[in-house]
Amino acid sequence: MKRHGFRLYRHYLSLSIRSSMQYKSSFWLTMLGQALTTISTLLGVIFMFQRFPEVKGFTLDDVILCAGIVQLQFALAEMWARGFDRFSQIVRLGEYDRILLRPRGKILQVFGSQFELSRIGRIIQGVLMLVYALVRIRLRWDFLRVLTLVNMLIGGTGVFTAICILRAALCFFTLEGLEVMNIFFDGAREHGKYPLNIYGDKFLLFCTVAIPYALVQYYPLLYLLGRRADWFLPFLPLLALWFLIPCLLLFRVGVRHYQSSGS
């Protein structure tokens, strides 16, 4: 059954990619738009650091590294969880009825309903930022550092995916997409470009305990940059995956709550 599910997801994937390649110009334009936003954000950061050599002990290169990692976490989640991103539409148009009828996992189907290839632009930007920063910072690479980076990507993608699922779950109750939830998604990418401790201790605590952003950003970043050496830091990002559990649970509650909009 598991293998079957994977094969189904792969099939969904290829369908989605082929359909998006039918609209090539729209694909390229989305990429252009994303590139522009990233460039202007990045230019903003660069200009700030022309005035201020560092912020709370972080230099420009550190911030670019941080922003690159967050960008990748966000883009990976956005790419493969896009179905949850447009879930309000699925509910409102009654498409969810069809999903319920099929004898396959509901969550798998939503994941597979859309795969957003155009987010590859954001991924490329993230990789470029990451590579640029890593070349400039000249880290001493060892196994644990590589593991930290990989775990940050896994954990971070998990947290952003969880937020997508949470936002989708709320659609069962409200029918409409809640724009406020963008704070936790787009807001986290935009403001997560700086290490989270710069926003103050209380905020850092919130991002450690309530929504585990700091577990995939600030703490492992300290390890990566060699500021702290505690043994658990490389594994901390995986701990952040706990956040998926309440979000998935809420989604299940939502499914039971679902009333077809009938269209």
């Binding site: 110009s25 252009l32 202007s40 201020f52 912020v55 724009e179 406020v180 700086y194």
Partner: protein, 267 residues
């Protein structure tokens, strides 16, 4: 004039229907304001001497920017117009005994005012109650406040005149998404939406303050807190006015030539 006013009123009433969206928008803008101020505070604490404007002036700038966001954002177009241009609905617009430029201008103005009207007061109210220096301060003086209102209005007109240029360009091509994305992205950055213009490196800032985009939000928001006053303020206001006239003329010309060449696709 009366007919443009009724277009304006219709669009205004339409916009006022979206109260829940306005509420969501407000929550987002609060959060954005807090996060931005948090980041600038960290920079301020790292090196207060390098800060190009007073911290209180900056926080007022950010709160006003968030409160009046609907007036400033460069990528909020009237999508009906683009649809009309591509699907031929524009022929109805051309058949009306009104000037296209004035009609679209009035509609866009109303769209933005209705959005802003639903949002700005609560944001400003809460921001004013925040402890110093994180909240919105009072304007430095009554004349500054009046000039703030005046330049805010001129800035809004400039922004809409910019949109009109984009509509004009869109009439010349079938697919305008690329141009739209490109122009609004660049203008957003140059108007000081991403970081306020004083934070740009001095040479870049000097050029940007001469460009039309500085008048869109940089000028009014800095007059409010007194960061911009005296002769530089006067210069900025003259520039704002000159650019506004140029933008309107350019947009009107583009639209007129577009009207003449308009090809209606199907019907």
């Amino acid at each position: 004039m009366k007919k443009y006013f009724s277009f304006f009123r219709l669009r205004l009433q339409m916009g006022m229907q979206y109260r829940i969206a306005a509420f969501a928008g407000m929550a987002t803008q609060f959060f954005w304001g807090f996060m931005l101020i948090g980041a600038y505070k960290a920079f301020y604490e790292s090196n207060a001497a390098a800060f190009p404007m007073g911290f209180q002036a900056l926080t007022s700038y950010i709160w006003l920017q968030q409160a009046f966001l609907a007036l400033f954002i460069t990528w909020r177009f009237d999508n009906d117009i683009f649809t009309m241009i591509t699907d031929g609905g524009i022929s109805y617009e051309l058949a009306r005994p009104v000037r296209l430029y004035s009609m679209w201008f009035a509609k866009n103005l109303a769209m933005r005012l209705s959005e802003a009207a639903l949002r700005f007061a609560p944001v400003l109210l809460v921001a004013a109650l925040l402890p110093k220096p994180y909240g919105l301060s009072l304007p430095v003086s009554l004349p500054h406040f009046l000039l703030f209102l005046l330049t805010l209005g001129l800035g809004l007109l400039t922004t809409i005149a910019f949109l009109m240029i984009v509509y004009g360009l869109a009439m010349r091509m079938l697919s305008s998404t690329g141009v739209r994305l490109f122009l609004s992205g660049i203008v957003e950055f140059l108007s000081g939406q991403v970081i306020p213009l004083p934070f740009f490196p001095d040479k870049v800032r000097f050029v940007l303050e001469l460009l039309p985009f500085a008048g869109m939000q940089n000028v009014p928001l800095r007059i409010y807190s007194g960061d911009l006053s005296g002769t530089p303020m006067l210069h900025a206001m003259v520039l704002q006015l000159v650019w506004l006239v140029i933008f309107i003329a350019a947009g009107a010309l583009l639209l007129r030539s577009g009207e003449r060449r308009a090809i209606v696709q199907g019907g």
